[in-house]
């Protein structure tokens, strides 16, 4: 076990990983994964990966940073890091998050209350590397030395650390070992935010050094700004696909559905995570059906980026974030809609409803809201008849961090589930104390090298424990169980994690959104909307 590392080890010149984690060291799981032997073995990083990329942190590699070829190249990279570090603490360059970042740098007492709240730290078997304060403490020492220009007295007061390329390379990887769920920030007695530290580090690496995981930059925000969606769907393709979804949903439910596009003056502009249209078409289909039956005056937009609610800049880059947020708002302004409603996508909720609120001015500041209160109002209004007995199977609810802890939307989804799902049971803890699915902050779409092994064994482990515990009274495959995850990103993580552990076969744990449960319980819809077909 190499979890007992010293902070100064991050400057080690060799390229050997600082730690290695064995299954035996991880937090134990309940049945059917109760012993380390029943856990999956980790795939090792390939020799090719190790020789090409910086892999000196742990057992995996998320960012694929090419190894510098010369000492000069290393020095240039360190100089760029230092330049970015200055900008991170400069108001002109970082007015968005400077205040909380400074307070976190200057007032953390190192009490480790954050570590007690961190699912990654706990699931890793309390490995020192994954303490929320480990990366923050590195940044803090660099901040006092290189930004505040501290000398010996500062080193005595705040600690010192050697800045070199191995440290920068490890810090880049380490900034992608946090889900940015901000559970740690919620528990901090001071109000320090170690999740923000990870995010701001990612920002430095992206905005100054041009370093970010391909999945969230080139194939994510850049593709969205180029094609209109990170799925690569252009406006014509997305309209075709949605037309197909409408047709399919009409056939499956027996109720004609037609998704309206570009309706000027509509009450609601609905923006989905476009990944739903490709991976889980029943989700946008269910939305269309519910809104149609409730008589809502709604539309979707075919403007560039406005038919995909995702905004990956939230996780790593302010410029990319602002660009996508503005695209969403410009589409709403152009159509003259009264409000934007975000579909089942957690990070899109936080991006457009919360963070964009500090970017938008004038007529771009159009009201934005979660779909959850609207859905609750529809379900409880009596406009649609429901037969809750159709949902008479065990259902548990995952609280997406961005909607729940970070926006405070806790009750509407529960009111719906209590009304429509007779066997609804909570996970513990839940609501604002929930645990991240383990796929947050881009991890769910990051599948390079053996990164999925890390995200299932470590970042997703606490949630997996919660899911298994929630269904502990009916663990076998004879009882189909529904894990309600009203967020595309979380669904992606659950799909992959349940598959990885074979829990569909062993326990019949199915996953899906909330609107699917609503449609499944509609009395006027053909029975069996939820088809229990693994996908």
């Amino acid at each position: 076990m190499s979890g007992k590392i010293n902070l100064r080890d991050v400057s080690r010149q060799d390229s050997e990983p600082l730690i290695h984690v064995e299954n035996e060291e991880l937090m134990p799981l309940p049945a059917p994964l109760e012993s380390p032997e029943k856990d999956r073995a980790w795939a090792a990083l390939t020799e090719q990966c190790r020789s090409r990329y910086e892999c000196g942190l742990d057992d995996t590699c998320a960012v694929n940073i090419p190894k510098p070829k010369t000492r000069e190249e290393e020095e240039q990279l360190v100089a760029r890091f230092l330049s970015g570090l200055d900008k991170l603490f400069d108001k002109e360059n970082n007015w968005t998050f400077l205040e909380p970042l400074l307070l976190t740098m200057e007032h953390c007492t190192g009490c480790q209350t954050c570590a007690e709240s961190c699912h990654i730290f706990e699931a890793s078997g309390r490995n020192e590397l994954y303490r929320p304060t480990f990366r923050s403490e590195i940044l803090r020492r660099l901040y006092f030395k290189h930004v505040r220009r501290g000398a010996l007295l500062s080193a005595w007061q705040h600690g010192s650390i050697q800045l070199n390329w191995p440290l920068v390379a490890r810090l880049i990887e380490l900034s992608y070992r946090c889900n940015l769920c901000r559970r740690c920030a919620q528990s901090c007695p001071i109000g320090c935010d170690n999740g923000l530290v990870a995010r701001e580090l990612r920002k430095l690496f992206s905005q100054e050094m041009g370093i970010a995981p391909r999945e969230i930059h080139e194939n994510g925000s850049m593709l969205q700004l180029k094609a209109g969606s990170s799925t690569g769907m252009t406006a014509e393709i997305v309209k075709d696909n949605v037309a197909f979804v409408d047709e399919d949903i009409s056939e499956r439910t027996g109720i004609a559905v037609h998704t309206p596009w570009d309706v000027e003056g509509a009450d609601v502009l609905l923006i989905h995570n476009a990944g739903e249209i490709m991976a889980w078409p029943e989700n946008p289909g269910a939305f269309a059906l519910i809104l149609t039956m409730a008589g809502v005056n709604w539309t979707m937009s075919s403007e560039l980026a406005a038919y995909d609610a995702i905004n990956y800049g939230l996780w790593y880059d302010d410029a990319q974030f602002a660009r996508v947020a503005l695209k969403h708002m410009e589409a709403a302004r152009k159509l003259g809609v009264k409000r934007i409603v975000i579909g089942e996508c957690g990070h899109a909720h936080k991006a457009l409803c919360v963070i964009a609120d500090r970017v938008l001015t004038g007529d771009l500041n159009i009201p934005r809201e979660s779909y959850l209160p609207l859905l609750r109002d529809i379900v409880l209004s009596g406009k649609i008849k429901f037969a809750p007995t159709r949902n008479d199977f065990p259902v548990t609810l995952h609280d997406p961090c961005n909607m729940v802890r970070l926006m405070g939307v806790v009750e509407p989804q529960r009111e719906i589930l209590r009304a429509l799902c007779p066997q609804f049971r909570e996970m513990e803890p839940h609501g604002v104390d929930n645990y991240c699915c383990g796929g947050g902050s881009g991890f769910a779409i990051m599948s390079g090298n053996n990164f999925p092994d890390w995200r299932f064994h470590v970042s997703g482990r606490k949630k997996l424990e919660q899911i298994l515990n929630a269904f502990a009274d009916c663990p076998g495959p004879e009882t189909p169980k529904y894990l309600c995850a009203p967020c595309s990103n979380c669904k992606g993580q659950f799909r992959d994690m349940i598959t990885y552990y074979g829990l569909w076969q062993k326990s019949r744990i199915f996953y899906g959104g909330l609107v699917e449960l609503v449609v499944n319980a509609m009395a006027d819809v053909k029975p069996g909307f939820i088809d229990w077909e693994w996908r």
Partner: protein, 241 residues
């Protein structure tokens, strides 16, 4: 907020191991501050310029100040010793404990141990807390205090001046971080002061170097946010052709 500041609610809920020593330490600080406040008030009430109207308060406030001061100092010393033990023995705190943290705790222990020890073990005829406060207000150089209590006073004064230069100012920062920063959920409404601030910030000219940002020190954040790096890159490619 009150529960958090007075009783360290988050620590009690999420980090019980450190809660009691931290609670002792912080509550002791609050009592010590209250003791200084009561002593100052008692002294003010006893000033001759107020006549005899408030003199009765002196008899109430002076013993409260003495009691709060003694209990506060004892809690500070106990809490600081306990925290020092954690800082030096708990592996979980190792990577985030600096020499300065150890020094800070020792500073508190020394200052408040001297204050309480010096006061309780003062020689017969040495000034009580009330007499000392009155003497301080009147610049009475005839007041006699013990050497240990005097050293404690000097150390406590130095500590007070030192705190703002350390992260120990967190109990003041907490007021700002708790709501205003952590969960700042004021709505940015049209025509509001917040909107003006956002608009002003959008006029800043960043210098981030990554090509996709497109910052050159001349373009504002607003211009960068309304640009599209993919179309700019495409235009540049077409121009090259």
């Amino acid at each position: 907020m009150i529960e958090e500041i007075l009783f360290l609610k988050s620590l009690r809920e999420f980090n019980r191991r450190l809660w009691l020593p931290s609670f002792f330490f912080h509550f002791g600080l609050y009592l010590a501050i209250a003791a200084v406040g009561c002593a100052a008030l008692a002294t003010a009430c006893g000033l001759s310029s107020f006549g005899t109207r408030f003199s009765a308060f002196v008899h109430v406030l002076a013993p409260i100040a003495t009691f709060a001061g003694a209990v506060g100092a004892a809690l500070i010393v106990a809490g600081a010793c306990w925290l020092l033990m954690h800082r030096t023995t708990d592996p979980a705190l190792k990577n985030s404990t600096h020499a300065g943290d150890i020094f800070n705790l020792l500073f508190f222990i020394a200052a408040f141990a001297l204050l309480i020890g010096g006061y309780l073990l003062r020689a017969p005829g040495a000034a009580s807390l009330g007499e000392f406060a009155r003497g301080a207000v009147h610049f009475d150089r005839g007041i006699r205090i013990g050497a240990a209590f005097g050293a404690g006073l000097i150390l406590a004064s130095m500590l007070l001046a030192y705190i703002p230069y350390t992260h120990m100012a967190h109990f003041i920062a907490k007021y700002f971080t708790w709501h205003a920063v952590r969960w700042d959920d004021r709505r940015n409404e049209r025509g509001s002061g917040l909107e003006s601030k956002v608009a002003a910030s959008l006029g800043y000219k960043p210098t981030w170097s990554a090509p996709h940002v497109g910052a050159d020190g001349q373009r504002t954040w607003a211009e960068i946010a309304t640009s599209n790096p993919t179309s700019e890159a495409q235009t540049a490619r077409e121009t090259q052709k």
